[in-house]
């Protein structure tokens, strides 16, 4: 029944998936959060309203989001090689993962910021806050539950992206599932990888929900 399973290989693949997920998640937040904030602030009626900047950023985000991730993986190979020296393995997977997830996260952040009560922002200005203080001390903290929920959704999307990255030689659980489970008809390997991915998603969602509850005081 479990005759095809090489637990060492599965362990390595799991570690690779976690490394891809962790590395790309950190970079996604580092890039996507400021991008989302800028998208929000340059939007209509906001404090840094700028139609040109907002239009260009919005276009970039839409382009990256409209390319199916499998295609993005392949299209980005030259850029990936230029950035990290290889298009293979964990390192080679991270640039396309970030390119796919950061725009997605940025849009979710923008939405979370829109949910913040304008009255609170106005009150902050009325108290003599600078714009910077309003953004860092009022806007972002007030949006924090929404931003954490957005990060959770993004992390889960990244799990499925890492599985797809297996197609172009990234390694990890998705790669294992395709090479052994699909191409060699080893159903048991397929089942184990899928179960592991499922557990990973469950754990991420649980952590996310718990953090949201902790930071939310509504």
């Amino acid at each position: 029944m479990m005759g095809n399973i090489d637990w060492t290989e599965i362990g390595q693949a799991t570690l690779d998936t976690l490394a891809m997920l962790g590395g790309s998640m950190v970079l996604t937040v580092l890039l996507g959060l400021p991008l989302g904030v800028i998208l929000f602030l340059t939007g209509r009626g906001q404090m840094l309203e700028n139609r040109l900047a907002n239009g260009l950023l919005s276009l970039l985000v839409n382009i990256l989001r409209s390319v199916p991730f499998v295609i993005l993986l392949i299209v980005m190979i030259p850029l990936t090689v230029a950035l990290v020296g290889t298009s293979l393995g964990v390192a080679g997977a991270i640039p396309p993962l970030v390119a796919g997830a950061a725009p997605f996260f940025a849009r979710l952040v923008e939405t979370a910021l829109r949910e913040v009560d304008r009255g609170v922002i106005e009150a902050s200005f009325a108290m003599g806050a600078r714009r910077r203080q309003v953004v860092l001390w009022a806007l972002l903290p007030e949006a924090m539950p929404g931003v954490i929920a957005a990060a959770t959704v993004t992390a889960i999307a990244l799990v499925s992206y890492t599985a797809m990255a297996g197609v172009v030689g990234a390694g990890g659980l998705g790669d294992l599932a395709i090479r052994f489970g699909y191409q060699r008809f080893q159903t048991d390997v397929m089942v184990v990888t899928v179960v592991l991915l499922l557990v990973l998603v469950q754990v991420l969602q649980m952590i996310g929900d718990r953090v949201v509850r902790r930071v939310s005081h509504r």
Binding site: G119, V120, A123, M127, A138, H217
Partner: protein, 332 residues
């Protein structure tokens, strides 16, 4: 303390102005009410005072500064001298009560020890010392507004702006918050500008009032004058809302007059004295006896029928009672 000089504000070119040539002055230490229906320009007016909006034309001078001429830092300094409270409180939901009160001090970069001491003092003043560690969502509306007030006072302002500050509160809580505002006015010498759509709020706490309609000041003066003898239709409407519909004198015989008693005259039995002395007969068609801040007042609508009506009117006037003739149907 605050002067509006022919201030107009138009949001979009060609649109109807939100404020149209408004001139008014607010003296230091007074409670100044601005009453108007929604869309009359009240919010715009209050936002011009600390530069959240800039006038399209005219000047707003606050505490000696032309608001439009202040730079970014000047405006921040002004905003520390002008506190504001809001209809929906606008507290930071992710910060505790104490952190909310400390927020303006943190924005101003005050040292932590000072922030802590000042926050404790402010919470004690508004009676919320026991709730310092709670989050706004755990408080009642009245408590939230107290946090708002403590926060507005944090930087030691000279002026407090109240933007419909009691409109989201029940009558009892409204009373408590207005009482607190009155105390702050007396004890700290705060100048208070209060915008509202309720005449009752004006009657309870204001010294002077301006009535705003379609971006224009249609009437202004002491609360007593505007409340007892409203000259504009808008002011009359607000007074009626506060006091209920008066009985109309349609179909009654005799001369219709409105008597206004103020201060001590309110409690003297003037009506009986005059009736006995002049033999005049009267029917009471409507009346109200109330207080404007500390001043008691009464207003009665009478139909004077039999007897020497002219002599009765002269006697009322001699007794310190104002007599206004009214036409049938006009009411109080």
């Amino acid at each position: 303390m605050i002067a509006f000089e022919a201030v107009s504000k138009t949001y979009a070119p060609g649109a109807r102005p939100a404020l149209d040539g408004v001139s008014l002055t607010v003296a230091a230490g007074e409670v100044f009410g601005v009453i108007g229906a929604s869309g009359a320009g009240k919010s715009t007016l209050i936002r011009l005072i600390h530069g959240l909006e800039t006038p399209t034309s005219g000047r707003v001078v606050v505490d000696g500064d032309d608001v439009a001429a202040l730079g970014v830092e000047g405006l921040r300094a002004l905003r520390r001298r002008v506190g504001m409270i809001f209809q929906h409180f606008n507290l930071l939901s992710g910060r505790t009560v104490a952190q909310n009160v400390a927020f303006p001090l943190k924005l101003a970069g005050r040292p932590a020890a000072e922030v802590k001491a000042r926050t404790a003092e402010l919470l004690a003043r508004v009676g919320l010392s026991d709730h310092a560690a709670k989050y706004p969502a755990q408080l009642s509306g009245g408590q939230k507004q107290r946090v708002g007030i403590a926060r507005a006072l944090a930087t030691g302002p000279k002026v407090l702006l109240c933007d419909e500050a009691t409109s989201a509160l029940d009558p009892e809580t409204t009373e408590q918050i207005l009482e607190l505002v009155s105390i702050l006015n007396r004890e700290l010498g705060l100048t208070i500008v209060l915008i509202t759509h309720e005449m009752d709020v004006v009657r309870r706490v204001c010294d002077r009032v301006a009535v705003l309609e379609d971006g224009c000041v249609v009437e202004s003066g002491s609360v007593e004058d505007v409340f007892l003898h409203p000259a504009s239709e808008t002011a009359r409407r607000f007074v009626r809302e506060a006091d209920g519909e008066p009985a109309a004198g349609v179909g009654l015989e005799g001369r219709l007059v409105r008597l206004t008693f103020r201060g001590e005259a309110t409690y003297r039995p003037v009506l009986g004295e005059v009736a006995r002395a002049t033999g005049v007969d009267y029917s009471i068609l409507g009346g109200r006896i109330h207080r404007l801040r500390e001043t008691p007042y009464g207003q009665l609508t009478l139909a004077l029928t039999a007897g020497d009506v002219e002599a009765a009117i002269a006697r009322f006037q001699a007794g310190g009672v104002r007599v206004d003739p009214i036409s049938p149907g006009e009411g109080a």
